[in-house]
């Protein structure tokens, strides 16, 4: 066993860097982050105030990396962080935070609180305190191949079904093609119409692509946990596959955290830049649109809104492509009052939807999303993240709302202008 309280503290010392030190130095306890956090606004419980979620780390920073804190420690004015402190922190860092990063957008001194919460999770995981469900998901991902634990065979079955339906041949392990496509488990198991949809779109656009039998899972529980070594193992599997197949572009699917892991955190956890580029599927589609290779027909006339997934939009920087594409196929697209960087989280991200004990809380905080949707009077909510889609569907059902939830890729496929004979 390499996890222990000492290892946890050790990791927290290891990860404290200049930004974190600047953040802690600057926090004035103004409490504005609470106003941005669904867990506070929907429960009214001040314990969920975002900056409180990293209090053990703040104490370690103060005691270990500032002269003032060292003096305080010597004088007995501050107590060292205990194992109990870390245990108590699990609820705040894992079980009531989707790492959505909305707090970061309002902090007057510009603290990136989620940046810190991710590091805090890293310490807790090293202390052996990561939620069991996330640990199990990590094991499944690395041992069986996917987050949900299904083997390659399951995906192959889905691919065959899609081939049959569309009549398009779908590659596995085809080298030298344009794109390597990854999928999230949720897509394979629940929203597998995406495979056929993409096959058609890519065929019409003249794009060559393939799946990899070694790396088809985009999801990364290692990232949610903050177990960077495990996160790196999952990333490396993809990097290796892309390198072996000589593919220059990797597509992260409609999954927010996967995009964050592959696009932004990946090179940093494996310690080297990629020899390929990474795109969110929606970025790829928008590029095809720009090049005139994606043609659609017809417009949805119903009132449609879009839910920006936190990790892709607010934290990943994909904000405009989805709007370009929506405008191609809808005539009545309505923005949510808070959108893009300031969108409210669905409440299920950051690993929250895998943690059973957090379920009531996830249901409760969905109230914010419900309010947002209700005030728009729409028939459909489109999104581009399987986790969001899942949470939205569950929330909508729970609240008996008459709203349809769709993936953006799927919506586009519905309107695809098919010129080439299949």
């Amino acid at each position: 066993m390499s996890t222990s309280f000492q290892q946890g503290i050790n990791v927290l010392k290891k990860v404290i860097d200049a930004p974190i030190a600047a953040y802690f130095s600057s926090c004035t306890s103004c409490g504005l982050c609470a106003q941005a956090c669904i867990f506070y606004t929907e429960t009214g419980n001040p314990k969920y105030t975002p900056i409180r979620r990293v209090e053990p780390m703040r104490r370690i920073w103060e005691q270990e990396f500032t002269l003032v804190g060292k003096a305080k420690k010597l004088l007995g004015l501050s107590k060292p962080v205990t194992g109990q402190d870390l245990k108590d922190n699990v609820e705040l860092a894992f079980e009531s935070c989707t790492t959505c990063g909305r707090c970061t957008m309002v902090c007057p001194v510009g603290n990136d609180i989620v940046y810190m919460i991710r590091r805090m999770r890293e310490g807790l995981t090293a202390a052996g305190l990561a939620p069991k469900s996330l640990q199990a998901a990590a094991v499944r991902t690395l041992e069986k191949g996917s987050v949900m634990g299904f083997p390659l065979k399951t995906l192959e079955a889905m691919i065959q079904a899609a081939e049959k339906e569309t009549g398009i041949k779908i590659n596995i392990d085809e080298p030298n093609v344009d794109y390597l496509l990854l999928l999230s488990s949720a897509e394979v198991m629940q929203f597998n119409e995406i495979i056929g949809a993409l096959a058609q779109i890519f065929k019409e656009a003249g794009v060559s692509w393939t799946f990899s039998s070694d790396a088809y899972e985009a999801g990364n529980p290692g990232m949610h946990m903050g177990a960077s070594e495990i996160e790196a193992q999952m990333i490396n599997r993809i990097v290796k596959a892309a390198e072996q197949l000589h593919i220059k572009n990797v597509i992260s699917p409609e999954c927010g955290h996967a995009y964050m892991a592959i696009r932004w955190e990946g090179p940093n956890v494996i310690g080297r830049p990629y020899p390929f580029k990474v795109f969110h599927i929606i970025e790829v589609l928008d590029n095809l649109r720009k090049e005139g290779r994606l043609k659609t027909t017809g417009l949805e006339s119903e009132r449609i809104t879009f839910h920006d997934p936190c990790q892709a939009a607010r934290r990943g920087g994909v904000n405009q492509p989805q709007r370009n594409l929506l405008n191609m196929v809808t005539s009545n697209f309505i923005e949510m009052t808070d959108n893009q960087s300031c969108n409210w989280c669905c409440g299920g991200g950051g690993g929250m939807n895998t943690i059973e004990s957090a379920e009531p809380l996830v249901k409760k905080v969905f109230n914010r999303k419900k309010k947002q949707i209700d005030e728009l009077d729409v028939t459909t909510v489109v999104t581009m993240c399987a986790t969001c889609r899942n949470t939205l569907e569950e929330g909508i059902e729970e609240n008996n709302m008459n709203i349809e939830v769709m993936g953006l890729t799927e919506l586009l496929a519905n309107h695809l202008l098919k010129e080439k004979k299949s």
Binding site: M1, S2, T3, Q6, Q7, N10, V11, K13, K14, I16, E64, F65, T66, L67, T125, A126, G128, A130, Q135, A136, A138, V139, L142, E143, A227, S228, E229, I230, Q233
Partner: protein, 364 residues
């Protein structure tokens, strides 16, 4: 009427000064002292009935400016009456006697009026090196002050040197100059600071002592009647301060328009004196009216309170140099701390064991 020659009334008669004239004098003094006009009339009545007061004037480390101020400022005028009337038994600049005769006059007066004479002091008292820096007739100022103060009824310290140490006390104070109140603790002391003090303030205080006794004093022993307000409180340019209209240099538009001199270093806001109301040279003007800021000469340590031409809001030395030095020192300390931080981060890195799948309950 036997004692009439010993009373001011007789003196008035001798000089042919009417009571009406004397009332006018007392009214003017009362006005300066902010006595009520009724009190001025009482003062006039009382003054004519007091006896000639013995006064001993000791001059220590001083420039004689205070004496000049008092003696020069008056034409044969009413204020000089007070001085004509008191028996100035010793004043080594003004008295005719010299040498042993002068000292004898002092000792005689001390003997004849034991416990009743008023001691006026101008100049500070050097106490470093046993007070050798200033002696009179072989006696140090310190010894003389202690000797004369012992049997005095009251002491009037005239000028900023006697009241607060003044210029001789200015840093680095080579003679160890101190004020009268630093030496004498068991007698009533009236401080009349200023460099020099306003003449009418002196006569006013003396008139008050002779008639009503010791006037009301502030925490620094100054008569409130003259030192109760700051120059700024009574300054005719005050409205410009309140409006934020300041002269930026001594010959700019603002200076010509008579705007506030705060930015040019005026110390009026913290200086308590009557210059702005009583004025100088027979009420002609005072520094601010002449276009120059107040130096703050009637306050302690005015010589060391920063530059005369630096605004009151600035530091008295150069904090800028401190800032630079502190930044450099802080950088050094910061680097030392950074070194410690780096090594503890390196230790953490070294002690770190990767989290493995095994920790998660996996196989490898």
């Amino acid at each position: 009427m036997t004692n009439k020659n010993n009373l001011l009334a007789g003196e008035l008669e001798r000089l042919g000064i009417s009571r009406r004239t004397f009332l006018k004098f007392c009214t003017s003094i009362g006005s300066v002292m902010a006595l009520s006009p009724a009190q001025a009339a009482v003062m006039a009545e009382k003054l004519v009935t007091v006896k000639r007061q013995s006064v001993i004037w000791l001059s220590f480390q001083e420039c004689t400016g205070c004496t000049e101020s008092i003696t020069r400022s008056h034409k044969p005028s009413l204020e000089s009456l007070i001085f004509d009337f008191v028996s100035l038994d010793y004043h080594h600049t003004l008295q005719a006697a010299s040498g042993h005769a002068a000292e004898q006059a002092r000792e005689q007066a001390m003997h004849d009026n034991q416990g009743k004479y008023i001691l006026i002091v101008d100049g500070s008292i050097p106490i470093k090196d046993d007070g050798v820096y200033s002696t009179i007739a072989g006696m140090t100022n310190l010894d003389m002050l202690q000797q004369v103060a012992k049997d005095a009824a009251a002491i009037v310290a005239v000028g900023s040197c006697a009241t607060f140490g003044g210029l001789p006390k200015a840093s680095p104070n080579p003679t160890g100059a101190v004020s009268v109140s630093d030496i004498v603790h068991d007698k009533p002391i009236i401080n009349i600071p200023g460099c020099p003090p306003i003449p009418v303030v002196m006569t006013g205080v003396l008139a008050h002592v002779l008639t009503f006794g010791i006037p009301e004093l502030d925490s620094m022993g100054r008569p409130k009647a003259f030192y109760g307000d700051s120059i700024h409180d009574r300054c005719y340019r005050r409205p410009y301060y309140d409006r934020g209209q300041f002269a930026k240099s001594f010959d700019d538009e603002g200076a010509r328009k008579g705007w506030c001199l705060y930015e040019l270093g005026c110390k009026g806001p913290i200086t308590h004196n009557a210059c702005a109301t009583v004025k100088w040279n027979n009420g002609t003007s005072f520094p601010i009216q002449s276009g120059h800021g107040c130096l703050g000469c009637s306050e302690p340590d005015f010589w060391d309170a920063g530059g005369f031409y630096k605004a009151l809001s600035t530091g008295t030395n150069s904090p800028g140099q401190w800032a630079t030095a502190a930044l450099a020192a802080g950088a050094a300390a910061g680097l030392a701390s950074a070194y410690l931080n780096k090594s503890s981060k390196a230790d953490a890195e070294k002690d770190h064991q990767p989290v493995t799948l095994e920790d998660m309950g996996g196989k490898s």
